[in-house]
Point group: C2
Chain length 337, copies 2
Amino acid sequence: MKHITIKDVAKKLNLSISTISRAFNDKYDIREDTREQILKCAKEMGYYPNPMAKKLQQQCSYQIGVIVPEFLNSFFPEVIIGIQEITAKEGYQLLIMQSNENADQELANIKTLESSMVDGIIISLSKETKDIAYLQELLDNNFPIIFFNRTISELKATAVVFDDYKWAFFATEHLIQQGYKKIFHLTGPKDLNLCKKRKQGFIDAHRKYNLDIKPEYIIEGGFFIDDGIRVVNELIKTNNLPDAIFAVNDPSAIGAIKALKKHGFRIPEDVAIVGFTESRLSDVIDPPLTTVMQPTFEIGRTSAQLLIEQIKSKHQIEPKTIVLNGKLNIRESSLKS
Amino acid sequence: MKHITIKDVAKKLNLSISTISRAFNDKYDIREDTREQILKCAKEMGYYPNPMAKKLQQQCSYQIGVIVPEFLNSFFPEVIIGIQEITAKEGYQLLIMQSNENADQELANIKTLESSMVDGIIISLSKETKDIAYLQELLDNNFPIIFFNRTISELKATAVVFDDYKWAFFATEHLIQQGYKKIFHLTGPKDLNLCKKRKQGFIDAHRKYNLDIKPEYIIEGGFFIDDGIRVVNELIKTNNLPDAIFAVNDPSAIGAIKALKKHGFRIPEDVAIVGFTESRLSDVIDPPLTTVMQPTFEIGRTSAQLLIEQIKSKHQIEPKTIVLNGKLNIRESSLKS
DNA sequence: TTGTACGCGTTATCAC
DNA sequence: GTGATAACGCGTACAA
């Protein structure tokens, strides 16, 4: 099945290829009837411009690279759907890659995308990324990159983030207002901004209510179910359980719930739990998990919009940080009966 | 940041562009030392062949389209990861699209991918797809397409599927062997092969044990949590609960569990539940869900391998159906105490 | 309004 | 072993 080219159409209609081309790019003068004739004939012949040739000619790929740490949890897929919503409308396609939470893989992905000549990149950093030299170099060369959710302070770039501080504050405040006194925080990878922010929100909420936080109230956890299980098992073993737990994210919270239930503790009667980042799981776990809902689709849409803006504008755009808002979904896991 | 081209390298080294090109495509004669010199210099200058030009010249995009119904559940993401494993190695990139379980969207995706000149497509059909004329036309034109999981009988094409019949049979048999007698089956969209197969497995397992299936034992459900909830609520209302339920997939099973628990029924004491298609959720729900594990990554890898095979071979390849194997993960939700 | 001719950056087919 | 040169399919100054 050989592809029909512009030449075939030109030959068929006894016109030059430029005329055909013009009919398809409506920024040129062309008689309306020839234009219509061409479009009609082209459609009949099944012609459409060869994207490869077009890209080569225009020196841009109309493709956007997306790098996420993973897409097994629903968070990143939802963001990607948001991105796709915008980019599809503008005629861009997505090359989606995952870093697997691995900095080397991430760098390799970036280089692959770069050499694929994507017009821009939307990225959420892996949890272990520290070396940002290469990214910064791209940014300095005016290559369009938008960061979302997972960012690093040193990076001078446009980012779409969630107000982690505020909502961690609210989530903690919710527990305090429910009357819980001894509240533990399970943190995530400590280099990530969002973890720092969530931790700070946790601390400042206590400050507001003049509550003490002992050092052992803040425990290094992680992003996965297993992290929650591990940490809570340790607490149970050392007989040092809190009234309530504020986990850095939902999987971690779910791990905590599973471990507690396994040892016969009731939730929220014995220990209340609050998660972060509404996920499909929060409504499946028993009891349903109180958690902070992030505007995942919105994050995607905003990132995509900013990126396309940046791609289209030829001059440098001043980096800015967009902070999106969320919501606290209160469910059984944190309700004092 | 202008890109370095082959010309720049040629000029710098006082060589012709053909020589440079040869150095990068090692199928031609070239003196080893000039070759090394070129590669070294190119690296210093930051040159790499422009993929767009290469693609135009070679008339193939080195990109593969992937169309899935959704990627919010972990099933499709896992398949995609499997696909990526293989394609990345072979230098192909993925254009991932989702049909949103919508036949029109699916067709639009196919056409977009086609006009993007992807070298092939890997697709899992939406649950409502019936009109396969366009796909069949592509296939007849020798365009490489691999179907996985969701297929339609009429389609003459290579497919990678799961042995839905066998494992539905085993899952049902497991319930029967546990001593359950009145077992209901919640089905999925009835046009999909996999739903028909799972239903048949359910029926034949009963036949093997000479158990009757009354018509009302088979209930039209759906693929989502809400479908499970809806159906079970109806059963509760009409006071017609079974001993056990075999659901067409995990979300459906989880919906059933949620509805039952909400009305105070215990699982598995009052009603046992078995799901299908191991998902992240099956281990989060309480009690843990007995379910059939599909080799998601393997499905992806196999599909990718077959597709690449088909892309590389110029002549027609006889359609074949690859059937992959699974495993029954027995957990609490189906264990008679 | 339309046609001619060149360039985009490669690879491939010739000569030399 | 290396260098011209013609494709690949398109957009677009420039000429007509």
